[in-house]
């Protein structure tokens, strides 16, 4: 009887240790349950989604810059280029880098020989050492096209009503790139083709879109 009583009294003191083990286990389980890295990942995903929305905003408004200039056709290209420069400044103030190349090609309904005017805006954030624009076997060459600068080239010829592929080759300190711009040429209409190769980079995400739109003007 004495022995049993002693064991009973002796084990009461260990309640503290047993309780502490239970509390520690609960705390560890709670901490493991709150997965902060998963929440951080979700936040990054949301931020990337938000930047994608902003990129879509710039993409849509770039085309809008062309559309709202419809009544003053001579301003269409300038307004697009000015909008792209503006959008880049706005994004850079948010530590987001908007870069790319904007190409516009216009031609007026007239009699042969037809004239196609091409403008290329360098927004790559670096100089183009060489820029070659080739339309229907004719090439216009440019050297040292600095960042933010736009250059123009005119092509004339007896073009047929069909889709022509214009190539825009440029060389920078980072890469050699060739862009293919589809120009749906129609001898009975005046048209403007906009080609944009845009990218939006931040420390959270990277977006890129290459597209072209043609408008009857």
């Amino acid at each position: 009887m004495i022995c049993k009583t002693r064991r009973g009294n002796g084990s009461k003191g260990q309640v503290f240790i047993v309780l502490s083990i239970i509390i520690i286990t609960v705390m560890v389980m709670l901490k493991t349950g709150i997965n902060i890295s998963q929440i951080m990942e979700n936040k990054r995903y949301l931020e990337a989604g938000f930047e994608q929305m902003q990129f879509q905003n710039i993409r849509n408004e770039a085309l809008k810059a062309v559309q709202i200039s419809y009544e003053n056709k001579s301003d269409m290209t300038n307004n697009l280029n000015n909008f792209m420069r503006y959008a880049r400044l706005v994004m850079s103030s948010k530590a987001v880098n908007l870069a790319g190349v904007a190409v516009t090609a216009t031609y007026n309904h007239s009699t042969a020989p037809y004239v196609v005017n091409v403008t290329v805006l360098n927004m790559l954030g670096t100089d183009m050492f060489y820029l070659n624009v080739t339309f229907n076997t004719t090439t216009a060459e440019f050297r040292s096209v600095s960042d933010g600068m736009a250059v123009q080239a005119g092509f004339s010829g007896n073009y047929e009503t069909m889709s022509h592929i214009m190539t825009v080759f440029y060389n920078t300190s980072l890469a050699n790139t060739t862009e293919y711009v589809t120009i749906p040429f129609d001898t009975t209409k005046s048209k403007l083709t906009v080609f944009l190769d845009l990218s939006l980079k931040s420390d959270r995400s990277e977006q890129r879109d290459v597209f072209n739109e043609t408008y009857v003007i």
Binding site: N9, G10, K12, G13, Q14, F16, I17, L19, S20, I21, I23, I24, M27, V28, K31, I36, I39, M40, N42, K43, L46, E47, G49, F50, M53, Q54, N57, I58, E61, A62, K64, A65, I68, S69, Y70, E71, N72, D75, N79, N82, F83, Y86, A87, L89, V90, S93
Partner: protein, 146 residues
């Protein structure tokens, strides 16, 4: 003192000695328990990990979506170019939660922040190129604070 009372006294002394040693061991065990819990707290919970605030990014996305919805109507561009921030605020507020304070600023590049002292201020901006026959790029910045 007879032999029986001597034995009883000795037993009483032994009992007191045992009770005292039990008290010491209980104190020791409770100290061990407290120390082990403190050790776990310090080692496991001391690393600073701030909980990311998802509420801000959610509000920013909501504000952006509200402006995107409004830009579908042509009036939005007119309000922006006319710098009619009151109408813009009224329209946007109907699409946003009511527990946040708002202020709209229409600007070109340098956008003035509202003169509000709040640590939880955030914003969403929407860029427009202009309106028909009126090329004037602007950004609409919706500042929010709570």
């Amino acid at each position: 003192m007879d032999e029986t009372s001597e034995v009883a006294a000795a037993r009483g002394y032994d009992s007191m000695k045992k009770k005292s040693s039990k008290g010491i061991s209980k104190t020791f065990e409770s100290i061990v328990a407290i120390l082990s819990m403190m050790t776990v707290f310090i080692i496991y919970f001391s690393a600073k990990q701030t909980m990311p605030d998802l509420e801000i990014i959610n509000r920013e996305m909501k504000a952006f979506s509200a402006m995107k919805t409004l830009v579908e109507s042509n009036d939005f561009r007119q309000w922006v170019l006319a710098n009619d921030t009151q109408t813009l605020e009224n329209k946007i507020m109907s699409l946003m939660p009511s527990d946040t304070n708002y202020e709209i600023v229409v600007c070109q590049l340098d956008c003035a922040k509202p003169s509000v002292t709040s640590e939880r201020m955030f914003s969403a901006s929407y860029i427009i190129a202009g309106d028909v026959k009126d090329f004037r790029p602007r950004q609409v910045v919706l500042y929010m604070w709570s």
